[in-house]
C-alpha cells in the first residue's frame, strides 16, 4: 500500500503534494533541479486565451514571514501552452492541473474547453480570484452567484473535473464554497493570496509598481487553516489546501483542517527542493503520529471536536 496515494476527482495521485500555480512556472526550471516524477501533481501557471505580459516591475515585495506579488498573470497564452508547455510536461508521469484565468466568462470557457483536451491535463483549476478591475471588473471570486455561473459554464465544456480556487478576500468563504459546489464543481483549491500592500518609507511610493499585490507565504497559514476548517465542514467535495506550507508538519496541519491534498507555493522560492523534501519526510511523520495512511488525517481537527465560535479579542 502506498500510504501517501490519494484519489481525487480526475486525479490519482501517488502523493498529495504538488507545487501551487504560479510558483513553479511550467516546471522547466525545477526539472533542472530534480526529477519531477516525484511530485503528486503539478499546478501550472495561470493560462489565459492570449499571451499576457503582466504588470510592470517591481512585482514582488517582502513582508513579515510573507511576500506580496503582482505578476499580473503573465503567461504565453493558450496556444503556446498547448503546443509547447504541456507536450513538454508529458514526458513526466505526473498529472497536470491547469490553472485557468481570464477577464470575461467567455475567456474562461474558451481556455477551459481547449486546455482540458490536453492528454496530461487531468483537472482544471479555475482562478476566480482575480478581480481585473480594468476589464469590466466582474468580481468572479467574491460574488457567489457569479462564481457559480462561471463554474457551471466551465463544467459544461470541460473534459476533465473542475476545481475552483477560492479567494480569501471575502466575508463569507463558506457561502462561496457552497455556491460553487452547488454549481457542480468537483473540488476546491484554497487559498489564493490576500490582498496587501507595502509602502517604501524613503519614497512614500508603494513598493509594487501595481501598488497592491497578493500576500502569500507562512504569514497567511493561520488564515488558510481557518478557512479550510470552515469550508471542509460545509461541503462534501474535496479540498486541495495551500497557503504558507513549508514543511511536512504544515501538510499534516492542512489535512487536519480538512484538506485532502496540498499545494506548495512561495516555499519553492525559498527552498527549490521543498516539494521532494516534504514528500520524503511524510512517511516518517505518519509513523510518528501513528497513522497508516495520510488520508486518515483529513478533517481530523473537526471530526473530533465541537462547533466554532469566535468572539474576537
Amino acid at each position: 500500500m502506498n500510504r501517501l496515494a490519494v484519489e481525487l476527482p480526475g486525479l490519482s495521485l501517488k502523493n498529495p503534494v504538488m507545487p501551487a500555480s504560479g510558483c513553479f512556472g511550467f516546471g522547466r526550471e525545477y526539472a533542472k533541479l530534480y526529477d519531477l516524477n516525484v511530485l503528486g501533481a503539478i499546478m501550472i501557471k495561470a493560462t489565459t486565451l492570449e499571451p499576457r505580459f503582466g504588470n510592470p516591475t517591481p512585482r514582488v515585495a517582502e513582508t513579515p514571514s510573507g511576500m506580496l506579488n503582482a505578476i499580473g498573470l503573465q503567461n504565453p497564452g493558450l496556444e503556446k501552452v498547448m503546443e509547447e508547455e504541456l507536450p513538454w510536461l508529458a514526458q513526466y508521469d505526473v498529472p497536470i492541473i491547469a490553472n485557468v484565468a481570464g477577464s470575461t466568462m467567455e475567456d474562461y470557457v474558451e481556455v477551459a474547453k481547449h486546455i482540458s483536451k490536453a492528454p496530461n491535463v487531468h483537472a482544471l483549476e479555475l482562478n476566480i480570484s482575480c478581480p481585473n478591475v480594468k476589464k469590466g471588473g466582474i468580481a468572479f471570486g467574491t460574488v457567489p452567484e457569479v462564481a457559480a455561473e462561471l463554474t457551471k459554464l466551465v463544467k459544461e465544456v470541460s473534459e476533465v473535473p473542475v476545481y475552483v480556487k477560492l479567494s480569501p478576500n471575502v466575508t463569507n468563504i463558506v457561502e462561496m464554497a457552497k455556491a460553487i459546489e452547488a454549481a457542480g464543481a468537483d473540488g476546491l483549491t484554497m487559498i489564493n493570496t490576500l490582498l496587501g500592500m507595502r509602502i517604501d518609507v524613503k519614497t512614500a511610493e508603494p513598493i509594487l509598481a501595481n501598488r497592491t499585490g497578493g500576500l502569500s507565504g507562512p504569514a497567511i497559514k493561520p488564515i488558510a487553516i481557518r478557512m479550510i476548517y470552515e469550508v471542509s465542514q460545509a461541503v462534501s467535495i474535496p479540498i486541495i489546501g495551500m497557503g504558507g506550507i513549508q514543511s511536512a508538519e504544515d501538510v499534516i496541519e492542512f489535512f487536519y483542517a480538512g484538506a485532502s491534498a496540498v499545494a506548495v507555493g512561495t516555499a519553492n522560492f525559498i527552498d527549490p527542493f521543498v516539494c521532494p523534501n516534504i514528500i520524503a519526510e511524510l512517511p516518517a511523520l505518519l509513523d510518528e503520529l501513528g497513522f497508516d495512511h495520510i488520508s486518515e488525517c483529513t478533517g481530523r481537527s473537526w471530526k473530533k471536536g465541537g462547533p466554532t465560535v469566535y468572539c474576537g479579542a
Partner: protein
C-alpha cells in the same frame, strides 16, 4: 545550479555598510562566469522570508572559495552581516548568465564601468579578461569616499578611475563624467550599476558592443515566477527574465 550550505571562512567590513564575505563549498566548482549571482538565504526562520541575490565577486577554484561583496542595508543583508566565520549560509547558485568574456578578443581593450554595489562582479570579470590578454580600463562610481571599495585591487588589472557624487574622492560627478574626460578608446564595454547609469551608457555608445548587468526584485531567482521580467524592444508580449536570461544583457536586447 544547486543548493549548498556553504561555510563562511572570512567576513569583513571593507567600507561603510559594505561587507566582504568569503564562502567555501563544493558549489564553487560550478561557478564560472563573472556576472553570475547566487541566491542567499540569510536565516533558517521564516522571516526575512526571501533569498537575497548577490553577485559573485571573486571565484577561487583552487581553494573552493568564492567572495561576495554586499551592502548591509535592509533586514536580510543586515542579518547576513552579523554572521561569523564558521557559520553556514544556504546558497542557491550559480544563477543566470554572466558577462561574455568571449566578446573581447585577446589584445583588445575593454572598459569596465561599475556603480556602487554594482562594482563587485567587475572584479572577477577584470581578472578573467586580463588572464585572457584583454587590456582593461576601469571606472568606478560611488556616492562618497566612505562607501568606496576595491579601487586599489582593480588598479592591479589596469588603469582605474574613481568618481564620487560629492567629490570626496576622485573625480566629482558620475562615471560618465570620467568617461567623457579620460577615456579615449575601447572595444567592448561591460557595466553594472544603477539603472540611470546603465541607460546613460547605452545611449552614449549606440555603436559599441555594450553589456549591461541588470537588477530586479526577485522571487525564485531561477526563472519560474515571472517576478523579474523586463521588456524586449518593439514587442507587447515578449520578455526576458533578469534571473535566468540575464542578469547580463547586450545593450538593446531589453528595454531598460
Amino acid at each position: 545550479m544547486k543548493t549548498e550550505k556553504m561555510t563562511i571562512v572570512h567576513h569583513e567590513r571593507i567600507a561603510k555598510n559594505i561587507y566582504q564575505i568569503r564562502l567555501a563549498g563544493a558549489l564553487v566548482a560550478e561557478m564560472n562566469e563573472p556576472g553570475q549571482f547566487v541566491h542567499i538565504k540569510v536565516t533558517e526562520q521564516a522571516n526575512p522570508l526571501l533569498r537575497r541575490p548577490l553577485s559573485l565577486c571573486d571565484i577561487n577554484k583552487e581553494a573552493d572559495e568564492c567572495t561576495i561583496i554586499y551592502r548591509a542595508e535592509g533586514a536580510g543583508t543586515t542579518l547576513l552581516s552579523q554572521k561569523r566565520p564558521g557559520e553556514m549560509v544556504d546558497v542557491l547558485g550559480p544563477l543566470g548568465n554572466g558577462f561574455p568574456i568571449e566578446a573581447a578578443k585577446t589584445g583588445q581593450r575593454a572598459l569596465l564601468v561599475g556603480g556602487g554595489i554594482g562594482v563587485p562582479p567587475l572584479y572577477e570579470l577584470a581578472k578573467q579578461l586580463v588572464k585572457k590578454g584583454v587590456s582593461v580600463t576601469i571606472v568606478l562610481g560611488f556616492q562618497t569616499k566612505e562607501v568606496a571599495f576595491y579601487e586599489r585591487k582593480f588598479a592591479s588589472f589596469g588603469e582605474t578611475y574613481v568618481a564620487t557624487v560629492d567629490g570626496s574622492y576622485g573625480t566629482k560627478g558620475f562615471v560618465t563624467d570620467v568617461i567623457d574626460t579620460r577615456i579615449t578608446s575601447f572595444d567592448v564595454l561591460y557595466a553594472c550599476g544603477p539603472k540611470p547609469m546603465l541607460k546613460a551608457l547605452e545611449q552614449k555608445f549606440p555603436n559599441k558592443e555594450v553589456y549591461l548587468s541588470l537588477e530586479e526584485r526577485m522571487g525564485c531567482g531561477i526563472g519560474a515566477c515571472f517576478a523579474c521580467v523586463c521588456r524586449v524592444p518593439d514587442s507587447e508580449t515578449a520578455y526576458k527574465k533578469v534571473c535566468s536570461d540575464g542578469p547580463v544583457f547586450k545593450a538593446g536586447e531589453v528595454v531598460l
